[in-house]
């Protein structure tokens, strides 16, 4: 019984710490901008707090919701999230921000359906892979149907366009298929076939090509395309080992765009230094390891697939965001789970942890 309590407590503690760091850093990185734009320095803080509270309630709900029951609504939730994703393209419902239609305005709330799709896809894959058992090794009954579903989702995400989410979804889906036993024989050719498509997608769209070029050599055009990356690197450099101190950072003032969303990790780098950054990165690593351990010890195939998919989803998102901020990957426009400002991402991440907690609990009661 002590085992169960350990995992529960570790997971919960990591999540709570990350969410708290998020709330503090959202305030630190947005206060001045918010004071100027909305005349209310607490503008983003208040909202992030509200999202965090909502997310925590839903997380507790998910932790008490028997995870096997997710199987009953897995297909439905995927379909529902696809519908929401398609609503983004309807003028009046979809909100265009900086050329991309990623938000959905419903009465009373604004949603980012791509975040919901990620969770729904993991639920669906865990359910479906469990149901098919050994059939996943077949091409026509196992592999191809998944590729159709995945292809549809990726197509819609690229239409928004949201290349970052598309890559996360593809990565998580492929990893779940491999763990479930789909043969490399099918997966490798698929990856090879998509490479030219990916190349075309990137090079065809001017802003993506420029981002890639800027990523390869930011100092080549330091004031235009390389600007974000350089400012992000400068933020880390200014932070040094100990950081400038919470709230003292200057990069967020206007050098660093999206300081409270996509580049919040750079603000952490500047204000809390190497130490702060290491703590955050280590927390994410621990979160993933905890998740994988839940999967490893779960005897139920559905629970195992689900726990693996969820930990991978959170881990991959965190990794990509961290790598972008450190100049290891081209800029993508992805949120850092638990920390970046944004309601849908925070709530979905917390619900994912809630599901993990429930699986972990059932593992505990088995032993």
């Amino acid at each position: 019984m002590t085992f169960r309590r350990d995992v529960d407590a570790t997971l919960l503690l990591i999540t709570a710490t990350l969410t708290c760091i998020g709330v503090v850093m959202v305030y630190s990185s947005s206060a001045i901008m918010a004071a100027e734009r909305f005349n209310d320095g607490f503008y983003f803080l208040k909202r992030q707090l509200a999202y965090a509270l909502t997310g925590c309630l839903l997380m507790i709900g998910a932790a008490y919701f028997k995870y096997q029951n997710w199987r009953k609504i897995a297909v439905f939730s995927l379909l529902a999230s696809i519908v929401l994703l398609s609503l983004v393209f309807i003028p009046g419902l979809g909100v265009r921000v900086g050329g991309a239609m990623r938000w959905l305005r419903l009465p009373g709330l604004t949603l980012q359906p791509a975040e919901l799709v990620k969770l729904a896809l993991v639920l669906y894959l865990a359910h479906s892979l469990t149901r098919k058992k050994e059939k996943v090794r077949s091409l026509s009954k196992g592999y191809l149907p998944y590729m159709v579903v995945l292809g549809l989702l990726l197509g819609m995400l690229l239409k928004q366009p949201d290349l970052g989410s598309a890559m996360i979804i593809a990565g998580v889906a492929l990893a779940m298929l491999i763990v479930a036993g789909v043969r490399w024989l099918y997966i490798l050719p698929t990856i090879l076939m998509t490479l030219p498509v990916l190349y075309f997608l990137v090079m065809q769209v001017d802003y993506r090509r420029r981002r890639i070029m800027a990523f390869l050599d930011p100092w080549d055009d330091p004031f235009d395309t390389g600007f974000q990356i350089i400012q992000s690197l400068v933020a880390f450099g200014k932070g040094g080992v100990l950081g400038q101190g919470l709230g003292i950072g200057e990069q967020k003032l206007f050098y660093l765009p999206e300081a409270h969303t996509d580049f919040i990790f750079s603000v952490i780098g500047e204000e809390l230094g190497l130490i702060g950054v290491l703590v955050v990165a280590a927390l994410f690593l621990l979160l993933v390891l905890c998740g994988i351990r839940v999967a490893l010890l779960c005897q139920d195939p559905f629970g195992r697939n689900l726990a693996f998919g969820l930990s991978l989803l959170l881990g991959l998102e965190a990794f990509v965001n961290l790598a972008v901020c450190m100049g290891l990957l081209p800029t993508k426009g992805l949120a850092l789970p638990f920390i970046s400002y944004g309601g849908t991402s925070l709530v979905v991440s917390l619900v994912a942890v809630g599901i993990l907690l429930n699986i972990s609990h059932s593992v505990g009661s088995q032993t």
Binding site: L233, G237, G239, L328
Partner: protein
Amino acid sequence: MGLDVKWIELPAVQRRFLFYSAAATLVFLLLLLRLWYLQVIHYEELQERSVKNRTRVLSLEAPRGPIYDRNGVLLVDNRPSFQISVMRQDVENRELLFDALSGLLGIEKAELEKRWDAGRGFPIYRPVPLATDVSREVMEKIQEHSVDLPGILTEVRPIRDYLDQGSTAHLVGYLGEITEEELARKDFAEYRAGDFVGKTALEKSYEDYLRGHKGKRLVEVDVQGKLLRQLQMETSSPGNKIFLTIDRELQRATDEAFGDQSGAAVAIDVHSGEILAMASRPTFDPALFAKGIGSDEWREMIHDKRHPLQNKVIAGQYPPGSTFKMIVALAALREGVAGEKRIVDCQGDFEVGGSRYRCWKKDGHGPTDLRKALRESCDVWFYQVGLELGIDKLSQAAREFGLGGLVGYPLPGERAGVIPSQEWKRKNFNKPWYAGETVIASIGQGFVLATPLQLAVMTAALANNGTVLKPQVIQKIEDWQGNVLFDSQPEIVRRIDYDPQAWKAVRDGLIAVVNAPRGTGHAARLDDITVAGKTGTSQVVRRKSDEEEEEEVNGDIPYRFRPHALFVAYAPAEKPDIAVAVVVEHGQSGGRAAGRSPKRLFSVTWN
């Protein structure tokens, strides 16, 4: 967190999980290496870069939309002005800086300190303005000395330029610095402290149309704050163009007719309700507000007894005097109280309820019919007919013509005037109505009050056979690329029905006022077109205490007790196009003082 299970014993699925755990840990180590590289090894290099990183985001002001007259003549535009600001984070010694700057700008050191402090709430990287609209010479001197003035910036800012010397100041309104209360409001979300916004009239009501969208410039500067190069730019887009219904030539003529007298005049198109000219005197110079008005100048303006800031066309309420008689005449004809041929014998005074009411002509007009009563403005005829008509019928007729209520001026500040009735008096004074009050109301005195705009709308309705029109001031709004956003359409408030005979009788009377021998409105007569009009002289209410205070000097009435002079007119009388109402405050006699203005206006129109 050690996994105490033996690798060999694990099934394939679990081995895969272990593989992923190892992968995740590896990835983490990779990130760790990168961080070490950035924050420890390259710390100094990046640190140095951040010091050199003197990029700055400058906001590009969007030029405010220009304002034109109806023919596209520019009335209000923008011109570049030089502003001296300080970047506080770059200042090392404030005392030294202000010593040098005070001489160059000709501004006291204490004043500079005050302006620096005014920017205390600004984010540290936002320049604080020290001097606005400085001359080119001063700007050049500052730039020459820029090495000794670290942190000082010269910025170019568009400022409102009033090409019509403020003749449309009351209509257009003025700008002022945005207040904290305004900044807090949602509709001002795009503004920052230090921005100028419309404070009154058109500039305020059409703020959304007039302001453009700001752009941004990302620039690199050296230690002195000197611009090295531009890195990125997002252009601003100017505000929309507003075309007024005003005709600048008519506006100028109306203005000039006042000389140094105060009062108000307004001319409207009788077909569309468009205001062609509106003058309120004395006026003010909106340019004073454009650069930020001093507190002394402001105090002087609001304490001026002649109220330069008030738009008297819409907010000045005057007893309409004899100009009101056209309403009494029409109502009497409609109600059958008196026909055109009704004769009243005027002996110079009139008695009712034990009080005597005088005609302006002491000796009386003798036997008088409607036409003569209008032409010579005989008061006794109207006392008699008004009394027979009764206040409630008179009040109803006046209200139909737009008096006693808002006529729908499209900008704020309009006042309703007063048209009394029995019920009105009961409500406001809790007293019954007296017959004597009907008598003086019949000559537009007593409780009756009207704005010049109401009188113009009334006159236009007489000229166009009873169509009461909503006054318009905006003809058209175009965006800066010429797309039309708004195009005004005439709006009819109501149509008033009168017998054609009744219209003709009153109009003939008004033609006689200006053109016939002994008419009171000769001053407005023109040779080539026929003007119809009505004069008015309205008593200014004196309180008893006032009379005791101020004695009449040399037979002259003190200025503030002199009666107001009024004139309403339309032309050409045969087929009217324009209606005018003029009030000259304390102008003594309607015919002479107020007649000049319509005359100038009509002669400018038809020359």
